[in-house]
Subunit: 458 residues, 2 copies
């Protein structure tokens, strides 16, 4: 570890070193991600079809498989300056605790009020909505991280922001709701009386506590039926991975500055926005044959899209109102077991990451949640940061890889993405502390039910 | 604003630029803060008397009015590296929103899991306890910020940490409690059956929801009656202001690096730890006659120790078990009105700051809580950070000063301390959003009741 003295605990780039472009990994993919399909016609969605739902510039980004670099608009750069650069941290204390010869780094995206990397794309999507002269945007939120990020972004640009929040979260996470209100967003518990779909669901299931699928449907309905509004989404989409590439580009600039080359790059994977953003420029080098890296996607054993899902066209939402995407999926009807506490509960996966995984550029593994919380607690106690359960999936895998190095004596350099903080997830931590958390792995039969709901496409 | 281009949004010092010493402002005070008194004998507390309650090295620091600089032990420097430097932020967006020619800077101490500056002293106090070979420490916590900071610090050094948490907070803020448990602390709702004082109070008031005064008494009892334990405190004490000087020293290094000289330095004041830390090196220059600055302490109108209190010896705790301190105080029996939501509810004030205020080196003003939350929301919407209500007192005053500059056209440079984030204070924000927050200013008659309880000393 001869470089120990040279590498600071935290690398903060100077403002002038910050990324000025997003990197579009699709430009370097030989096999491009499959196009979104119109669920009615089963034909690729055209720009004009998507333009009713998304902002024009975001539609362009969504469909653009060719442009390698997108200059980041100055207004977004200025906003990024308020909370970026995020620190690239050398986990000296964790290394010492593990007694590993591995060098562990993490890129920490939690130092902003939304508490996660979601803000990187929220501000971009709000910016393009503002540029287009729109009045506002709609979205759904479950736990509330994405809704908070979008509220902050809309507040900055003076856009109206309507957030449909899954009712059970609205009631159980009043703090998240109040953060959004502080930023001027209107937060509606879903299902609600404000939409046709909401009213229909309430009539059919009067006592329902809501679902993400229903909240999406409500948000989309409001966007397409109100002039001057569009719908925005915080993960899965190609445009989101483009914006999130700022994480990876910034990481790479910092690593290059200190001559650090990662051997293994690890990220948690729900819809794929963080993982796709973190690995983007490194994956570009691998795709162009310039360098080799190991990439590891980590997902919950209770929602194993990569490791046990099918690579197929599927609906992106349970309400089946959105375009269909080709991806690793458990079926849009799949719902993780009720004891699942660790986030990353989306049934599908980014089309970009799905294609890269399918083509062998990336590994994936699933981990069980008690081992994830154990890693989270171990990390918090030595590194000081209380991680989000989602982020802790990456910590689990990073620790496991570092322990392998301890066995073999290899001095590998491990980089992982620490996407956010867990301040609003203490109910899950409480379960863990009280020994009330259990693991659950869905049976093949259960998964088959989800696969049975897959649409028949080609 | 010719320097606008030159100053980045955020100034992060490099690791090698970080402070290596704490600054003890007492060394430069002509009138030293009055000594702590033994409540029984009314004589100045001797080191050996304090040593039963506090660690030896901390007793030394508490009583040392002469040593100007304390080298920060390497172990503490290493811990600081995990979350420091904290950013010195140029509030470009707030300036623009206000349309002020003033230049506004804030030192943001909330980017760590405890969410505030409290960690700066917690790690120091834990370190000295470890150095002395102690098993653990005890403390009390109300809202939980200090308890969280201490839990993190104890976890890092492998010390046992017993936190007595006011019962009403323990029940209403389960998230804070779980964060402390994540760091391995044992958190006990106070009053409890684990101490004599707790049992006595429970017998007398079976339904009580506890008080900070009672929690202090329990924590002190456990510390003095268990071999290998000491009691630690997060504010008010001279030792705490010494550790917190890292805030000011770091700020000064960053400002000097960019040639920035503040005209006005503003901090919120509860027990005084943040304000005392932020202003320390600047106050030193003023005391030595080298430079002049305006210092403004901001306190809640509902708990106005500086602006309406008496400069007198008083008990530091409602249980009257701690030494007496000479300070600006509302009387140890004073309790802010139930509608008070904004923190900073301590009846007294650091002896150091009290003396400086008494000697005319510092101003103080009080602000009402609805105007504080209005400032908090305005700040959050343009600067992105959701502030703790405590910190928002300083924001209120900074905005007011910036608006004065707008009237006069003066380009003053304003620096304020943003002590922490408000993620765990959303109940107060909710009240504010729902219009349920009101202001309250205690009458002279009410304050007189507190003064009537002051001990008769000299």
């Amino acid at each position: 570890m001869k470089d120990t003295k040279a590498i600071p605990y935290k690398i903060y780039l100077e403002e002038k070193e910050l990324p000025t472009t997003w990197y579009n990994v699709r430009a370097d993919m030989k096999n491009k991600p499959a196009p979104l399909l119109n669920p009615g016609t089963l034909q690729p969605m055209k720009a004009e079809e998507l333009a009713g739902v998304f902002c024009d510039e975001l539609v362009k980004q969504e469909l653009d498989n060719d442009t390698r670099y997108y200059p980041i608009p100055q207004e977004i750069v200025d906003f990024y300056k308020m909370y970026r650069p995020s620190p690239l941290v050398r986990a000296y204390c964790l290394e010492k605790k593990l007694g590993t010869p591995a060098k562990i780094y993490y890129k920490f995206e939690g130092n902003n009020t939304s508490g996660s990397h979601k803000l990187n794309s929220a501000i971009a999507q709000a910016y393009y909505a503002k540029q287009q002269g729109l009045k506002g945007v709609t979205t759904e939120t479950g736990a509330g991280q994405w809704g908070t990020a979008l509220s902050m972004a809309c507040s900055y640009f003076g856009l109206d922001c309507k957030v449909y929040m899954v009712k059970v979260s609205y009631e159980q996470k009043p703090f998240r709701r109040e953060v959004m209100r502080t930023y001027g967003a209107s937060v509606v518990p879903s299902p609600s009386n404000t939409t046709n779909v909401g009213r229909a669901i309430l009539e059919q299931f009067p006592g329902t506590t809501g679902s993400l699928g229903c909240a999406i449907s409500e948000a989309v309905e409001v966007a397409v039926s109100n002039p001057g509004y569009r719908y925005v989404l915080g993960s899965v989409l190609n445009q989101v991975l483009l914006h999130q590439s700022v994480i990876g580009v910034e990481t790479k600039i910092a690593m290059d500055k200190y001559g650090i080359v990662p051997d293994i790059i690890i990220g948690c994977a729900g819809g794929g926005s963080n993982l796709g953003g973190l690995i983007a420029p490194f994956m570009g080098e691998k795709l162009r044959g310039e360098k080799d890296y190991r990439f590891i996607a980590v997902e919950p054993a209770s929602c194993p899209s990569f490791t046990r899902g099918k690579f197929a066209y599927d609906f992106c939402d349970t309400g089946k109102v959105c375009p269909m995407a080709k991806m690793y999926t458990l079926g849009s009807g799949f719902i993780p077991a009720p004891n699942h506490a660790g986030g990353l509960r989306y049934h599908g996966m980014s089309s970009i990451l799905s294609q890269l995984y399918h083509d062998g550029y990336m590994e994936a593994r699933s981990v069980e949640q008690t081992s994830v919380f154990k890693a989270a607690e171990e990390f918090a106690r030595v590194e000081g940061i209380l991680p989000a359960p989602e982020s802790a999936h990456a910590i689990r895998a990073a620790i496991d890889e570092a322990l392998k190095c301890k066995e073999t004596g290899e001095e590998k350099t491990i980089l992982f993405g620490l996407t956010g903080t867990g301040y609003f997830d203490m109910v899950a931590y409480e379960k863990f502390h009280d020994g009330l958390m259990s693991d659950y792995i869905p049976s093949d039969e259960e998964l088959q039910k989800g696969f049975d709901g897959l649409p028949k496409v080609d």
